[in-house]
Amino acid sequence: MCTYRTTTLPVAGSGKGAEGWFPVTDASVYFDHPVHAPADHTLNVDLRNPSRGASARVALELDPVSARALAVAILDMLDGAPPGLIPS
């Protein structure tokens, strides 16, 4: 099925796309058909900077198990960061 489900949120940081590094300002997270990954559905993340055009994008298409493991790893890494390094 085509789920269409999408969450969008502002983000701050940098990503490396087809033309090198650029500041990322927007993220889309969705579980839907991938463009490239060999699966019916993947957890997809777009990190974008719309002010720099459509090509300013870092794209990920992950199988659901990988996506969940990555999310847990990210949260664990942030939770375990030394005190004072992450602004509250």
């Binding site: 085509c2 269409y4 999408t6 839907d32 055009g53 459509a54 794209a59």
Partner: protein, 248 residues
């Protein structure tokens, strides 16, 4: 001239609001007057798979054009990048879709080889849009391939800013062919059944086929969702349908 000979190229025409719309045009080399098909791409955009479908219609004797519905948001961008922008923006507004399909229809009818008859076919989100076009424009036939949210509203977490089309059923001005996967959830079998019910109640000419063992996007030959039996039968239904409604 050998059957299947065709030419294909990128063209431009005036779409909604007079905007210049980029499109992929494929026409048979055979000079006999032919019907036209507007191919409405799926949510992943104006991609290679959809252009291949457009050429397939030309190879089978039809004038075919596929407008790039995302050309405003992402001019010149790769199809996947353009689709990401369109998704984040909530999809294509219905009014704009109708205007762009109207431009595509006029472009086909202006071709030297046109017999004046034009149909739409759309896949995924384009299936709903094919139906919308058939309720809004002067068309000779329309095909809806697994389009969701024809009668229902997308849930709140969905990005699409579109409404249901139930109140437009009475405006359907041409025969409709619907091809669906019985295992699909968008549209699910209950939505397809309800769609049949309202079309019947409105006295519209239509035929629907739902394929067991097939889900969404069963025509996509390069995806795991491809179901060869359903796709083969679906293409035969399309050729029969267009043969009936797009001939002189």
């Amino acid at each position: 001239m050998t059957a299947g000979d065709l030419t294909a190229r990128t063209v431009e025409f005036a779409g909604h609001g007079g905007d210049t719309v980029e499109a992929y045009l494929a026409v048979p080399l055979d000079a006999r007057p032919a019907g036209g098909v507007v191919v409405i791409h799926h949510m992943p955009g104006w991609d290679e798979a959809t252009k291949e479908i457009t050429r397939r219609f030309a190879a089978n004797g039809y004038l075919a054009v596929c407008p790039n519905l995302y050309c405003r948001e992402a001019p010149g961008a790769a199809p996947d990048d353009a689709a990401a922008v369109a998704r984040a923006n909530g999809g294509v507004p219905d009014e704009r879709l109708v205007g762009d399909v109207a431009g595509a229809t006029a472009h086909l009818r202006a071709q030297d080889g046109s017999n004046g008859r034009v149909a739409t076919i759309g896949f995924c989100s384009g299936g709903r849009q094919s139906f919308l076009a058939a309720c809004s424009l002067d068309l000779d036939a329309a095909v809806d391939c697994y389009g969701a949210f024809v009668l229902t509203v997308p849930p709140d977490e969905f990005p699409l800013r579109i409404g249901p089309l139930g109140d437009r059923v009475g405006d359907l001005g041409c025969p409709l062919l619907g091809l669906f996967g019985a295992d699909d959830q968008y549209p699910g079998p209950e939505e397809v059944t309800e769609f049949e019910r309202v079309l019947t109640a409105a006295g519209k000419e239509f035929e629907f086929h739902s394929y067991e063992g097939a889900g969404h996007a069963f025509f996509n030959t390069d995806r795991p969702s491809f179901r060869p039996d359903a796709a083969r039968d679906g293409w035969e239904r399309i050729w029969t349908f267009f043969g009936r409604h797009l001939s002189d």
